[in-house]
Symmetry: C2
Subunit: 343 residues, 2 copies
DNA sequence: GGAGATTCGGAAACCGGTTGCCGCCAAGCT
DNA sequence: AGCTTGGCGGCAACCGGTTTCCGAATCTCC
């Protein structure tokens, strides 16, 4: 940026203020403000002189001062209720991107599954007079609202609030499962098994129920009761062996996560079953590291978390501008087809 | 938080100001400020009354106003030069944690490998008068400084600045490689191969060179020239097959990443070689998803990115408080031993 | 009881911008 | 020439805190 180097005075430790600009341009501070913001009535020549002075000093208005008399800070808080992980990242990125386009800056708050930290961050954000708050978390399960009677809008992304009046954007896990099942049916599979995470986990329960009900709508059933376990490759391998040793008749497995699916793929291959010829395989999450490294590459349901984050940010911006969208919002899933079902 | 509910006036859309508190307590605004900050000389009874009024209104000082006359915003900017990914997260979390403890809030800026966005964010942060900036990125390679003559301290974390005077905190990849080699030597291996990422990638080059030189210091050599490829499981599998088919004599493989190591493990198993009995295996990154799902679980070099982030944040806080630590800082790696070398 | 010491809290300036209002000056009109 | 009109830009209040300075009230002691 050589252009900036020559105009800024490097080593000048104090950022230029509007008075500095006014002095240099030979006008008053108020006039500078008008010139820079296009308000009031100024001679073109005056405006030009002010702009030149501002440029020369590298003037950037102090946002704290702007915030003070506009009442708007153009910042939002993003609270991740649990540790920032694989699911939070695309959410954060999508939201940050959408907000940045709206000239908003984002405060990142990692509450680490600690309600005390959560409330500490909430107070901090309110003290900083953020224009709004996005609450995210790892689980799609609903959670108590982060606060009540707050003076600013709040949007829940991925997780949802137990208060049905709160604005929550959640992935359509049920619809995603339907797409997975429909796809397996479309490629001619009829004896579909389901392997997934812990039964008490909301996502596992929802996806399993949706898979079963979609089959029943076609007059079919799961090849056996869903195998609930954990969200790991090891469980995928183990569950696949259970399917094989109990002589279950199956030609497809729909898995609750890509990690599980990958474990299943490895165990099937070790047992001499071919994917997708003997068994078609569908995962969930479309986590590229897993889905692409899997042998063969894995068909998977994508919750489109980045888009979901952008969606949530858009709703927050609207709410900040006086057009709130209370209640739950369902964000669609997308099926990404790869070799594990169409080789 | 039922306690708050009763004290805050829900639905009161405008946050309480210091004047509101003053009016309720029957004192002046200045007195409220003194009471809340423990300045000046006030009667105990007056102080108590003010505190009670502040509590009743749920008063939180407007940080913009505080910033305006203290010149300190108690915020820092965190710019990730490339997309936030697996490496950035522990960095961000560590830094955010350390800064939060210092009462600092963090602005998250995702520059997405775009120099334009980078400069946009830099200007935004300067306009917001952040007290300091942390710059991170995916690669350990050094990069041009984000700005020159900036009025606030900047710390580079993980990546480093080409300006040797800038404060950069980088992982000791060379030391990490040494630890990996030393460990393999300690468990009796002598014919060590190295499989890693692209040759032009800084980390790949550094780790390969460090491995070779450490062996030479013991009068040994790599079993063959390092196999450079890409950071993927597929390449790990392919490279392992190269080792096997070229009849290279090897009893250990040190890999440039856990993904590569996992591919190697799969290919070795498929070829009937036992890990660690026939071949010991060491990865790099200690990415739990890979290292733990690997069969057997993978010994790996951990760059301790979260600690590194905390380290960087600490240096930034010190610099903000007038005690800068210019120049590069090397953050040690840690070897995590698992079954792939000690089964 | 009065002078001096001490305690307590209010008034006002200030941080860095924004904005409504008003005054000054030149041009236009009669 | 005198008055009106309107363009231009300065003055000052304000946003919400913090801090300095100072005055008033009370206390102490002779």
């Amino acid at each position: 940026m050589p252009a900036r180097k020559t105009t800024e005075t490097p080593g000048n430790d104090r950022p230029a203020t509007i008075s500095d600009v006014a002095r240099l341009a030979g006008v008053s501070a108020g006039t500078v403000s008008k010139a820079l913001n296009g308000r009031g009535t100024l001679r073109t020549e005056t405006r030009r002189r002010v702009l030149a002075a501002a440029e020369q000093l590298g003037f950037q208005p102090n946002r704290a001062a702007v915030a003070l008399n506009s009442g708007r800070t153009y910042t939002v808080g993003m609270i991740t209720t649990d540790t920032i992980g694989r699911f939070s990242i695309p959410l954060l990125m999508g939201a940050e991107d959408a907000l940045g386009a709206g000239e908003m800056s984002v405060f990142l708050c990692d509450a680490r599954d600690d309600r005390i930290r959560e409330q500490y961050y909430l107070r901090t954000l309110l003290s900083r007079r953020v224009d709004g708050i996005i609450v995210t978390g790892r689980r799609t399960q609903s959670r108590p609202p982060i606060g009540t009677g707050l003076p600013i809008p709040v949007v829940y992304a991925f997780i949802s609030s137990t208060d049905p009046g709160d604005c929550s954007v959640v992935p359509d896990e049920e619809g995603g499962s339907h797409k997975a099942i429909d796809h397996l049916l479309a490629v001619g599979r009829r004896r579909i098994a389901h392997i997934t995470g812990p039964e008490h986990h909301h996502s596992a329960a929802v996806r399993a129920a949706a898979a079963a009900s979609r089959l029943e709508a076609s007059g079919l059933h799961l090849a056996r009761a869903p195998l609930f376990g954990e969200w790991s490759e090891a469980w995928g391998r183990q569950a696949a062996r259970i399917l094989l040793t109990t002589a279950t008749d199956f030609d497809a497995v729909f898995c609750g996560s890509d990690q599980i699916a990958r474990g299943v793929a490895d165990a099937l291959r070790a047992a001499g079953r071919r994917v997708p010829d003997d068994v078609a395989l569908v995962g969930f999450d479309n986590w590229d590291v897993m889905a692409l490294a899997c042998q063969p590459p894995l068909t998977s349901v994508d919750m489109e978390l980045e888009k979901l984050g952008r969606h949530a940010a858009g709703l927050l911006l609207a709410a900040i501008n006086g057009a709130p969208s209370p209640g739950p919002h369902i964000h669609p899933c997308r099926l990404v087809v790869r070799d594990s079902t169409s080789g």
